[in-house]
Amino acid sequence: MSRAVRTLLLSIVTVLVSVAVVTPAWGSRVVVIVSDDLSPYTDPVETFLEALGEPATVYNLRGRESDAMGLAKRLAKDPPEVIFALGAKAAWTARTQLPKVPLVYTSVLAPTRFGIEGTRTAGVSMVAGPELAVSEFHNYFPDYKKIGVLRGPSIPDARIEAMESAAKLLGIELEVQRVRNPRDVRQALRTLGPKVDAFWLQPDRAVIDRPTYRFVVEETRRTRRPLVVETENMVRAGGMFATVPDARGTGRQAASIVREVLDKGRYLRGEIVDPEEVDVVLSLSSLRAAGAELDPLMLDFVDVVVR
């Protein structure tokens, strides 16, 4: 093959490849913005793209404001139809810089704290639904009938009430103790300790700091009470059991919301939906420390076992 022909073929291939590369980026109706390279952000992206069923352009802010502003400026020129944001930075950027574009977000623990709310937004919560959380614990530990719930000031009444309703259906009694600061938490553990079989700690930054959480873990182990928490990290830091959103599931769920926006013109009204898919996280060392028993068959159904 002559050199000229090879050059010609190479040029054709080059142009075709370039066209193929460019097309999805320009044609995407959906843009995905990821706050950083952390697994809670990156895991749902894969399932989101699978479930979405059409090309989407993915941007990673790597935690940088400068990147976010540059991206926002660029997207403003040619806005997508929907943005899927993972993490507070990504969601905040989309909400404030591209307010006209419908936003679906996940991996944001306290969206209202950052003003990520209002019309044209919808989020998948980072906390399992209260009914599901209570019932999952009951599935694994049906013998615990009286649970002390430590409730911080920012936990909504509706969540506690839903927990109480679910507990009632399952024959569990919840002793809800309001705590307002770390000192209250310590006090509540001591007062509630003799009256309950287990403790349930709500994630509230106002009352739970690192030393307080350490104290809670030590105290519950000392009194041999299971500690139920609501994030995987809290289990890894000494909690015994948690029901948490499945990261890949949140991606699928977000994709279904985005599809409804694209296909059915769904109008987002600021709803925050409970995650449909959850994982059960269990710490074996905390299990032993609490003296709790678990049917070996049930261990098969635990999604994340912390050893």
Binding site: A4, L8, I12, T14, V15, S18, V21, V22, A25, Y59, N60, R64, E65, S66, D67, M69, G70, L71, K73, R74, A88, K89, W92, T96, L98, P99, K100, T112, R113, F114, G115, E117, G118, T119, R120, E131, L132, S135, N139, P153, S154, I155, P156, D157, A158, E161, L170, R178, R180, N181, G265, R266, G270, E271, I272, D274, L297, M298, D300, F301
Partner: protein, 626 residues
């Protein structure tokens, strides 16, 4: 003139006006329908800010209370100065205030259900305890006292949430109001003796006294000083002659227990009252048990709905109408009190741009490839490969211009860093900078409460003269073509914003009417409003005609009962599962969603099991082998 930009917000309409301040409904100043957060902006009139100590006090209080974050406290978002005015931006609570609820009940000659009254007070006490026990970084008490707990400052939202508003602004406004009789007057009926005597050493127990008075009013239907004039009230309170709450006989032992709670809070000597809000809250909780327990948020919502069925549609309609784009002369700055970037420890801001994998990274590669293609095509054209070369050239020309116009990442970043018009999310808004440097603001606690509410039923489309603008805006009046009000259905997801009706406001000095201090019976005649009444009239948005906006699609149909999650366990995984006799695609060991209800589950080789699956709950069912 409304709407108009103001600080970081867009003022939408006047909600109330008083002697010292004006209260407006506002939203974050974005100039389109995308992001909508409603707030209440309270503007202090310029002629009240000459008192430096007042300004300093207000500034201190506002700074402290802006840190309060509690589910039952309406948050202070921002405070600052615009021109000669000081302002306070508060969380907007969609609903109505307790004063209006009590007024409605009086008009209907009904009594507030005891459980509802106790629920509301329980939540307010919870909020007070949180505030009273706040400590600084060194663990020292911050001595936060509300000082102005009264029905006007207690909001009940359309979703059944209770919020205490105007936290902390009372101290500064008290100072000013003492020189302004008519404003001070409105508060006297809820003041503790030590508060009236003007001692500086007030503590949290003044709030408990006010709670006692408010609870009294809720249970009786009229305050203990109803019918008395200002002087009589002052004398009575200062002399400690505070009427006791006497429950109806048919309330029996429960009533007596309730009376103990109310009357203990109403003791003239602070030492005789409850030592703290939490102790009183627990007492309220225990008493509520005798009346059937505290109602849930949903019950409170339903009760409020039954009391005023128009409230929720009215609020939602108003919010919808203000959710659309608002043409302004200039758009505001989105601004944010808290910015995720600023909160992240790892937020080093270098000039590195969007990494590869996004369009910017691929764009660089693509640009190179297209340039190569175009260059080759040109060469071919010269060499005679005409048709193919033309095709390549056309393709190149189509794709080249956008790529060349797209700025490289680093360049874009540099532009962003230099360009003043782009809001920098790590910086606070100008207004906030100002408030840190020089000023504070003042407030009268009386009018924010009225402003928060949607108050007396407002007819959605009645005509109203333009709401009076008390403070002349310095900016030019903006053209306004708000969107039309859209009728909304009731069921709306969790965060649906809210809206009050557009009010025409007048301050009415009520003559002191009829009597009945220590009575339980509801007065035969509708009770008058408290002394200072900010009445929200039945005016509406007619003063500001709405321009058409693409209406959002109708609310989705209500969904059927939610499913639960079912897992069937057996010794063997993978055995086909039958539910209610029907073969399912699921097997033992699978977790799957299934319509909730009573189910009969069978699997080959196992005993059948009857179970109940509850909505949104998980159920694991173990089948026993035959």
């Amino acid at each position: 003139m409304y709407p108009r930009p103001y600080a970081n917000y867009t003022l939408l309409e006047q909600l109330a006006t008083g002697g010292m301040s004006q209260v407006d409904l506002a939203r974050r100043s974005v100039d389109d329908a995308g992001y909508v957060r409603f707030l209440v902006v309270k503007r202090i009139r310029a002629n009240h800010v000459e008192d430096e100590s007042f300004v300093r006090m207000f500034k201190d209080e506002a700074r402290i209370t802006s840190e309060l974050r509690h589910t039952h406290i309406a948050q202070v978002y921002d405070f600052g100065r615009v021109g000669e005015e000081y302002y306070l931006a508060l969380e907007y609570v969609p609903g109505t205030d307790l004063r209006v609820i009590l007024s409605t009940l009086r008009q209907r000659r009904e009594r507030m259900p005891v459980r509802m009254a106790l629920r509301i007070m329980h939540d307010v006490l919870d909020a007070l305890q949180y505030a009273h026990t706040r400590t600084d970084a060194h663990g020292r008490s911050m001595n936060i006292v509300h000082r102005d707990v009264n029905p006007r400052n207690i909001m009940v939202s359309i979703s059944g949430e209770v919020k205490l508003i105007d936290f902390g602004v009372a101290r500064a406004s008290d100072r000013l109001e003492r020189t302004q009789t008519d404003h001070f007057k409105g508060k006297v009926a809820y003041m503790a003796p030590e508060q009236i005597s003007g001692g500086d050493a007030l503590d949290h127990r003044v709030d408990l006294f006010a709670i006692g008075l408010t609870l009294y009013e809720m249970l009786v239907g009229a305050g203990p000083f109803a019918g008395m004039d200002q002087t009589q009230i002052l004398f009575r309170i200062m002399q400690g002659r505070i009427p006791s709450f006497a429950p109806p006989r048919d309330w029996g032992e429960s009533g007596r227990a309730l009376a103990q709670v109310v009357n203990k809070a109403l003791r003239a000597d602070p030492d005789d009252r409850y030592p703290d809000a939490d102790t009183m809250r627990r007492a309220v909780y225990q008493v509520a048990e005798a009346f059937g327990g505290l109602p849930t948020t949903a019950e409170l919502r339903e009760w409020l709905h039954a009391l005023d069925p128009d409230l929720e549609p009215r609020v939602r309609q108003k919010m919808e109408s203000w959710s659309g784009p608002i043409p302004l002369g200039r758009s505001g700055d989105p601004g944010s009190d808290e910015v995720p970037f600023a909160l992240d420890a790892s937020g080093t801001m270098d000039a590195r741009a969007i990494p590869p994998g996004d369009s910017s990274g691929s764009g660089t590669v693509t640009r190179t490839m297209v340039l190569t293609g175009v260059g080759m095509a040109t060469a071919l054209l010269i060499g005679g490969g005409a048709i193919l070369a033309v095709v390549l050239l056309v393709v190149g020309l189509i794709y080249l211009p956008p790529l060349l116009s797209a700025e490289p990442d680093a360049q874009a970043t540099a532009e962003v860093n230099q360009a003043p018009p782009e809001p920098d999310p790590t910086e606070r808004s100008p207004a906030r900078k100002t408030d840190e440097s020089e000023q504070g603001a003042e407030s009268d606690g009386s009018s924010t409460a009225a402003a928060q509410e949607s108050s007396k039923p407002a007819k959605p489309s009645s005509s109203t003269p333009p709401a009076p603008s008390v403070t002349a805006p310095k900016t030019a009046p903006e053209q306004r073509t708000p969107p039309p009000a859209r009728s909304t259905s009731s069921a709306s997801p969790r965060v649906a914003p809210e809206t009050p009706s557009q009010p025409a406001v007048s301050i009415i000095e009520e003559p002191s009417p009829t009597p009945s201090p220590s009575i339980v019976e509801i007065p035969s005649e509708p009770e008058p409003e408290p002394e200072l009444t900010v009445r929200i009239g039945a005016s509406d948005s007619a003063s500001t005609p709405k321009a058409p906006e693409p209406a959002p699609p109708p609310e989705p149909e209500p969904e059927p009962a939610e499913p639960g999650k079912l897992t069937i366990l057996s010794g063997n995984r993978g055995v086909p599962v039958f539910i209610d006799g029907k073969k399912t695609p699921y097997k033992t060991g699978d977790q799957f969603d299934w319509p909730s209800g009573d189910l009969t589950i069978t699997a080959d080789g196992h005993e059948p099991a009857k179970v109940t699956l509850h909505p949104r709950m998980s159920r694991m069912v173990r089948l026993s082998p035959k």
